[in-house]
Symmetry: C2
Subunit: 300 residues, 2 copies
């Protein structure tokens, strides 16, 4: 039996697994051979675009269908590509320099931030950031914006709001993504956390998984609660995602810190852990802190 | 101009970015309209298999080509799918129960491992593991196997070997993946690390990025050095990947620990950090430790 016949003889039984992100399926079946009936697993992965195809991209499109949700400069389509395989297309026109920058990969650097570097470079950078950049966060916490999206609100200095992240569709539980934003304005990042914040941190740890379990049916041991460092905005917040959402943005070590580890470090290791620890950062060259570091590194 | 004409009028200029894993490309171009020439960005993503297509999978294959690297039970093909879009196919036949288990997703649980849990459940589990399961690791360290794959070897109790991980193709630098395996047999996991291991850890930190930079041209600030916990085998080893390899296996917080953080914790925070800290683990139900935990949790 030649190998291509082996493939043609595959009889599908059931799907073992599939990954829509990578367009891969794992199928269980069997192949009958002279020697008997063999169990078989077939793994199929769609291939990437070849670079040479990209120049004449639109010439290879067939049967283009426009989606109704087109919005301003964003236009969505489905189309076949040469044959019958579908692809999803987004066209942004007119696109600005900001759009181009957003979709162009920027060089990133791994930086170990010592307490001295934090005090000399990062803290002044945070304090100089115009507060209007986080006005939208204050609006959520104060209840003057997005109040209908908040699913849980607790009051006081140890209070917080919980709301779905914009990236979550609200339906796919494997991609569950919520955000905890604290009421207090005095914690800009994990660097500011100390023993005095244990009631706040513990309140998030106790109440959020219980609430998520009740509201969305995702059990507490399927959740990952973590903080980014550097965060994308300097008002303390905690990301809540499903464990299976393994490619949630910046969930990798070197960019994130687990809430449980933060609590343990402060409670059992040292109350001033986040003031004395050297913390990793992965910083893009477009980030304001990278520019500040480049300017000031001679000063250190 | 109807929207489909807008897409047909896209003129390709250059590729901004592409992601072979998700089969997505970001193209820069322009569209000429009555109002002038607009910059445009086109984002195309191949769609996933639809579940209804999977039952009749092999009937939709066209122009199957066999790859030469077929090996024993593994057979590799390229094929078109209905039309002209390529896909890569792996057929495993005869497949065993172990293969089926490997490709079937298992439920996973987030567990906080206190020092007490480590001592009562995990340490005995590690000590009862048959050493023959890591004989292959000893063979590499002793030089009796895979010696031609080792790219760096240092001697003594603070020594280690460095070799490419089997998952790396050795060519794509964005997916660079190397493994450091230490000579000493006394460190089973990060739980065993203490002040006495700082020379070993520091030697890895100093020598590996410098070597990788010289040999592969990847600069030290583009690398991520980390340890898994729980590891997949209990002989201390360090993973070395490119920063851009953001979906390297289990590189997420809750499953990995950055070597720099390990060194900082032991050197500047507490020498016995890894004996007194509560460490997160994400454990699949098929893992021996999960079974041990289920059996013994009443004993705690």
């Amino acid at each position: 039996m030649v190998e291509t016949d082996l493939l043609k003889g595959f009889n599908y039984e059931r799907t073992l697994n599939e990954d829509p992100r990578t367009k891969t399926v794992w199928l269980l079946g069997h192949v009958s051979r002279k020697t008997g009936r063999d169990v078989a697993i077939l793994i199929a992965e769609k291939t990437h675009f070849s670079p040479t195809e990209l120049a004449g991209f639109v010439d290879r499109l067939r049967n283009v269908r426009t989606q109704v949700e087109g919005n301003d400069i964003y236009h969505w389509f489905f189309s076949e590509w040469d044959g019958e395989t579908d692809m999803k297309i987004t066209l942004i026109v007119p696109a600005t320099e900001t759009h181009i920058a957003k979709y162009t990969p920027q060089p990133v650097h791994y930086v170990l931030e010592t307490p001295d570097m934090y005090n000399a470079l990062v803290k002044p950078f945070i304090e100089l950031e115009p507060l209007k950049r986080i006005q939208w966060v204050y609006n959520i916490v104060d209840g003057t914006a997005e109040s209908e999206r908040v699913v849980l609100r607790t009051s006081g200095e140890e209070g917080f709001v919980l709301l779905p992240d914009m990236k979550w569709d609200g339906v796919t539980m494997d991609h569950l993504y919520l955000l905890v934003i604290v009421n207090t304005r005095t914690v800009r990042s994990i660097r500011d956390l100390g023993s005095g914040h244990l009631p706040l941190l513990q309140s998030i740890r106790d109440r959020v998984p219980a609430f998520v379990s009740e509201r969305y049916g995702v059990s507490p041991d399927e959740l990952r609660l973590f903080c980014h460092y550097q965060p994308s905005y300097y008002h303390f917040h905690v990301h809540v995602t499903h464990l299976k959402y393994a490619d949630a943005p910046r969930v990798m070590i070197g960019q994130s810190h687990l809430l449980d580890t933060i609590i343990d470090n402060i409670k059992h290791i040292r109350g001033d852990y986040y003031q004395v620890a050297t913390l990793p950062s992965i910083i893009g060259e477009k980030h304001g802190i990278w520019k500040a570091m480049q300017k000031s590194k001679d000063a250190l």
